[in-house]
């Protein structure tokens, strides 16, 4: 029932899940995009992102997003390295 810790997920899969969350086509993001240019990155998708990474054992708070400029900055918060 409970996940004992972080489930392995690579950065490519994480980016793909982020695209799905924002309802964007697969492969449409490369990570360098500025978050403020992504129309779907709003308060609802912020919660979606928190829930998405929580399923992988990562706890994040919106306060941590304040200094994130790009998609990569955001995904770096998960601790999953960019290969």
């Amino acid at each position: 029932m409970f996940k004992s810790g972080r489930i392995f997920m690579d950065r490519k899969e994480l980016l793909h899940q982020f695209e799905t969350l924002l309802e964007r086509p697969a492969g449409s993001l490369n990570g360098s995009e500025a978050l403020e240019t992504l129309e779907q990155w709003d308060s609802m998708s912020t919660m979606g992102f928190i829930a998405m990474v929580a399923e992988h054992g990562v706890t994040l708070s919106p306060r941590q997003f304040v200094n994130c400029r790009t998609v990569d900055d955001l995904l770096n918060l998960t601790g999953i390295p960019k290969s």
Partner: protein, 343 residues
């Protein structure tokens, strides 16, 4: 000599007559994507207390339903516990007002306690303590809130979620059989660093109401509030919930020596469907064992868990003998969980 043991015997609830729907919100906010929001929150209607209709009025109606059901008479109640954050007065204690209004004997104890969505579980713990120490035998546990009176009319972020309502529960002394407890154990938690994320800043003693506290401010999402109305940082509350609630469930299972599979039904506080779905997925509980009751009443704060229990009983989901886990969490931050063997 046998010790008395606390048993949750019966629950009733009451919602105000006035109903606010998505269509009502669309009339007020034509640009607001109400149907998309409803899909996420799972809330189609909220009951809203009328002007002058207060927590005590809703609680009294719920209690009268409990007495009318035959669960007990007012004369048998020897303690009243009322959980509310929207009391009728700063003082006196609303539970004292209700003693008189409900015809409960003057020999009864009565007190209010101030908690939000964790309040029902804390109330059960207080009731169990009073019963097991021999101080009371029939406790009327009331949870009643009218958060609508704390919301700014132009704050869409909270108006789509919160509804008013009250529940009345009877917790009585039974004889301890030496078998499994019918209520408990309990796990509690508190983190006051979260107090700033769900707060009405003005109107208490720290910041009395003033001309300055009544000035409306528009946030980046276009929502309006003053320091006298509810502020909720939805993202922070969401993050808190996902970081604490799964752990709370795990702690209670460990403390009780149960496995998740032995729990017949999980009845969590009902903030909104989106949050509940995220919690359920994290815990990997099947939807049929994770009860959601939001559509007709929204988030009624301290009343959500007893309302959901009663609804689950009425629709047949909850049956006699079921082992139920109750999980409360919210403003404070405050959280608590317990197990109930349904009577």
């Amino acid at each position: 000599m046998s010790r008395p043991a606390a048993i949750l015997r019966a629950i009733e609830f009451h919602l105000p007559e006035k109903v606010e729907t998505g269509a009502d919100l669309i009339r007020e906010f034509p640009e607001w994507p109400v149907s998309r929001i409803e899909e996420k929150t799972g809330i189609a209607r909220r009951h809203i207390a009328a002007p002058g209709e207060c927590a005590s009025d809703l609680a009294a109606e719920a209690a009268r339903k409990l007495f009318a059901s035959g669960a007990c008479t007012p004369a048998e109640i020897d303690f009243v516990l009322l959980c509310t954050q929207t009391p009728d007065y700063l003082l006196p204690t609303t539970a004292c007002v209700l003693q008189d209004r409900l015809g409960i004997p003057t020999s009864a104890g009565a007190l209010d306690f101030n908690l939000g969505s964790s309040g029902f579980v804390y109330g059960l713990a207080l009731a169990q303590g009073l019963i097991e120490m021999g101080a009371a035998r029939n406790i009327l546990l009331l949870t009643a809130d009218t958060y609508s009176k704390l919301l700014h009319a132009a704050d869409k972020s909270v108006r789509t979620i919160f509804g008013d309502g009250a529940a009345a529960a009877l917790i009585s002394a039974g004889i301890e059989t030496g078998g499994e407890p019918r209520l408990g154990p309990f796990v509690f938690g508190t983190d006051g660093t979260g107090s700033i994320n769900l707060i009405v800043p003005a109107g208490g003693m720290r910041e009395p109401r003033s001309a300055a506290s009544a000035v409306p401010v528009i946030d980046s999402s276009g929502n309006v509030r003053t320091r006298e109305t509810l502020f909720m940082d939805g993202g922070e509350i969401f993050a808190f919930t996902l970081s604490k609630v799964p752990l709370l469930v795990k702690q209670l299972l460990e403390k009780s020596g149960k496995t998740a599979e032995q729990i017949d039904l999980f009845v969590p506080h009902q903030p909104n469907r989106y949050m509940l779905e995220a919690i359920r997925k994290q815990l990997r509980i099947a939807p049929e064992r994770f009860y959601v009751y939001l559509s007709d009443c929204g988030n009624t704060v301290s009343a959500t868990i007893p309302i959901a229990l009663k609804a689950a009983q009425q629709d047949g989901t909850l049956q006699s003998g079921h082992l139920v886990m109750l999980v409360g969490f919210g403003v404070g931050y405050s959280w608590a969980a317990t197990l109930v063997r349904w009577p």
